[in-house]
């Protein structure tokens, strides 16, 4: 008998430990659930952490209204199957209440607006900790993120004044009105997530798998057609065989042409690819520090 864990088991164990700490240290935590693979893995880990008990916190989805219909379908089925609690924050509500206004133009996206809705959902439900599936390998501002990320009463991240995080001791102490963002799979890479999904046989939305889709090209990115997509006259709809490496808003998530229609093929593709998965996200490309700026304002 070898008394050491494989790296995936060690990462799993670490994530379970953190999720249990969240449940123990906070009064009213929640799991942010986007319907993307990382949040699906987090939910799977939460089930493991409390089995045979139920996951003791709700799933929270900030719905921009511009999601892929497949994502929403997947989310609703999962919640129904497991009897999980789901809270949805609608960006449309924030728009209707005049708290945010829609971006204009062809590249308009609601991605930036969701921060407002997220902060409002946190406030209205008095969540003191929100877990999310962000990983440090995704983006360079995230490489400096803590497992327990402290946010002030405005939901802001102060990267220069983060609490040091040592060993496996997590400090979730806070003042009234402040809250935490917590990232149980911080130490996982994109490959770890895919290998874990395969090893654990976790269901995913079909968007991740190769399928024929009506798409159009813009600035070298393949976008899915859909009712919210404003197309320029020269942008022609065509059918291509594509899949998505990440799932965000339809307006900012690009597809890749791919024949990978099962997990093994996706893993091969991820292994061979030379761009990061966020390379298909136009929300990160707005500036060098786009992610850092959004995080400071309260984005994940």
């Amino acid at each position: 008998m070898k008394y050491n864990l494989t790296h995936l088991k060690e990462l799993e164990s670490e994530a379970i430990f953190i999720i249990r700490e969240v449940a123990a240290q906070f009064e009213n935590p929640a799991l942010l659930f986007s319907g993307g693979k990382d949040s699906i893995v987090c939910y799977h880990l939460a089930k493991k952490a409390f089995w045979p008990g139920k996951v003791p916190f709700p799933l929270v989805h900030v719905d921009t209204g511009h999601n892929f219909p497949e994502t929403i379908e997947f989310r609703d089925e999962l919640v129904k199957k497991d009897g999980a609690e789901l809270i949805v924050g609608l960006v449309q509500d924030s728009i209707d209440q005049g708290k945010v206004s829609e971006e204009k133009g062809f590249n308009a996206s609601r991605n930036g607006l969701q921060t407002v809705t997220l902060l409002e959902t946190i406030e209205n439900n008095k969540f003191d900790a929100c877990m999310g599936g962000a990983r440090r390998d995704e983006e360079k501002a995230r490489a400096k993120e803590r497992f327990f990320s402290h946010r002030d009463e405005f939901g802001q991240w102060d990267p220069k004044n983060q609490r040091p995080e040592l060993w496996n001791i997590f400090n979730g102490m806070k003042n009234m009105g402040e809250n935490f963002r917590i990232f149980p799979i911080s130490n996982w890479t994109e490959m770890d997530v895919w290998q874990y999904i395969l090893a654990e046989n976790i269901d995913l939305p079909m968007l991740y798998f190769s399928h024929e889709r009506e798409v159009f090209m813009r600035d070298g990115v393949i976008y899915s057609d859909g009712e919210f997509m404003n197309k320029r006259p020269e942008e022609k709809i065509e059918k291509r065989v594509v899949r998505f490496r990440t799932i965000g808003d339809m307006t900012c998530t690009g597809a890749v042409e791919s024949p990978a229609d099962d997990l093994t093929k996706i893993i091969e593709e991820v292994a061979a690819t030379r761009t990061t998965e966020r390379g298909t996200r136009s929300d990160d490309k707005r500036s060098e520090a786009a992610m850092e700026d959004r995080k400071k304002q309260g984005y994940f």
Binding site: Y3, N4, L5, T6, H7, L8, E10, L11, E12, S13, E14, I16, F17, R20, E21, A24, K48, A49, F50, W51, P52, G53, R136, K140, A141, R142, A143, K144, P159, K160, Q162, R163, P164, E165, L166, W167, N168, I169, N171, M173, K174, N175, S186, N187, T189, M191, D192, Q195, T264, I267, E268, V270, A271, A272, R274, T276, G279, E288, A289, E292
Partner: protein
């Protein structure tokens, strides 16, 4: 497809966490950049972003440091402010690098990065040999209980790949590190810039018969670094489904902090001292026979005794120190100096308490390792020996025996900031 990603191999890989320390300009970023680049952990779009940013800052060469300097102010100032975590894998192992800045004022970052590391890489500039920062980095690695230290004598190309230079530095470091508690010390002559002895063997240093850095990282034996002797299970939370199917289920969830727990073991629960036997060790994937660090699992006991978060399950005949008085080395991490007789919140495993700082014994000069018994002003980035008394007993082991049960953090009660990291003596 590379072997590291083939599914069968992937599921069999070990995880090695290491930290890198070095002074400014000793080639740390170049070394990390090379490890990441040669193992294909740097993607094309990241590389393009770095090229773009390098041009903006000026200077002809692509600055690999920009890969790790993620924050805007870091890029602007050209310094690394915070610990950055980087990831790469080879067919044998997956690696997590805690890349810590080398400036003198960032001891706290180095301590943070070292706290979870199995191994430390300490860069030494071959032209300068052992300098103050080398001593400091070595001391911190030792203090934080890192069992494997690899000194990379870098920039060998600038000393004509001289064996004599390498041997001289090696002797200096040998003398110095023998004063520290590091069991496994290695020396590698290298040129990170040219790639000599990083991934590939150097063609310029035939006299060096040892391993390359990557081979060392892939093969260093870490399986026995964890404590497999003293059984410690801090209870994180109690699982009681109270459903029809699991009506009487009462499981204690946590992560094994030491030793190997088996079904049938006679255990005691601290602080109550009640004893029982392990009825079952449970996980979502089914019952398991044994649990060892760092496994997360759920322990069920034969008897219905009162156990809650902050309690610790241990073996009857091997118990930790149960005490309210603790001696420790502390690394201070706050702008506000430590207050003698000050009260702080203390966190230890899953247990919270309050404590009072009873005594400050001495400050350590981390460059000379001298004890400064007259200097009791413990400021940010200082390391000192203190004694504290806690409101309730903690269940501790010496830090050098068990990192999980020997470490504490202190929290300022007015700001809730983590202000101190303590290693129990």
């Amino acid at each position: 497809m590379s072997e590291s990603n083939s599914t069968a191999g992937y599921l069999d890989m070990e995880l090695l966490r290491f930290t890198t320390a070095g002074s400014v300009d000793d080639g740390k970023s170049t070394l990390i950049g090379r490890l990441l680049y040669d193992s294909k952990a740097i993607f094309q779009d990241q590389m393009e972003a770095v090229e773009k940013a390098s041009k903006k800052i000026g200077g002809g060469e692509v600055n690999l440091a920009l890969l790790t300097d993620g924050l805007r102010s870091e890029r602007e100032q050209g310094i690394t402010i915070d610990v950055a975590y980087r990831y790469f894998a080879t067919p044998k192992r997956k690696f997590i690098i805690a890349d810590t800045p080398g400036h003198i004022q960032y001891t706290r970052n180095m301590v943070t990065g070292a706290s979870t590391a199995n191994l430390a890489i300490i860069l030494v500039d071959a032209r300068h040999g052992l300098v103050e920062q080398t001593s400091r980095h070595s001391f911190i690695a030792s203090l934080l209980g890192i069992k494997h230290v690899v000194y990379c004598i870098n920039k060998m190309d600038l000393v004509d790949f001289s064996q004599e230079v390498f041997d001289k530095i090696k002797t200096q470091l040998d003398d110095f590190s023998s004063k520290l508690e590091i069991s496994d010390v290695r020396y590698i002559p290298m040129s990170a810039l040219l790639g000599d002895n990083v991934v590939d063997r150097s063609k310029n240093m035939d006299w060096y018969q040892g391993s390359t850095l990557l081979y060392t990282l892939e093969t260093v034996h870490i399986a026995s670094d964890a404590n497999h002797v003293d059984c410690r299970f801090p209870v994180q939370t109690v699982i009681r489904p109270q459903t029809a199917e699991y009506h009487d289920y009462r499981g204690y969830a946590g992560r094994v902090a030491g030793g190997i727990f088996k079904k049938g073991d006679e255990i005691a629960v601290l602080p109550s001292g009640f004893t029982s036997k392990i009825a079952k060790i449970d996980t979502y994937d089914g019952e398991i026979e044994e649990a060892f660090p760092p496994m997360s699992c759920t322990i069920l006991l034969e008897d219905d005794i009162d156990v809650s978060r902050g309690d610790m399950i241990v073996r009857v005949n091997n118990q930790p120190d149960v005490s309210q008085d603790h001696e420790m080395m502390i690394c201070w991490m706050s702008q506000r100096p430590i207050q003698l007789n000050g009260k702080y919140t203390i966190k230890h495993t899953s247990r919270d308490a309050r404590c009072i700082v009873k005594d400050i014994k001495y400050k350590v000069d981390i460059n000379s390792l001298h004890r400064l018994e007259d200097d009791k002003e413990i400021k940010m980035n200082d390391i000192a020996r203190i004694s504290i008394r806690t409101t309730v007993p903690l269940f501790t082991d010496r830090y050098q025996r068990n990192r999980n049960t020997g470490s504490i953090i202190l929290i300022d009660e007015s700001t809730n900031e983590t202000v101190g990291a303590g290693m129990i003596l």
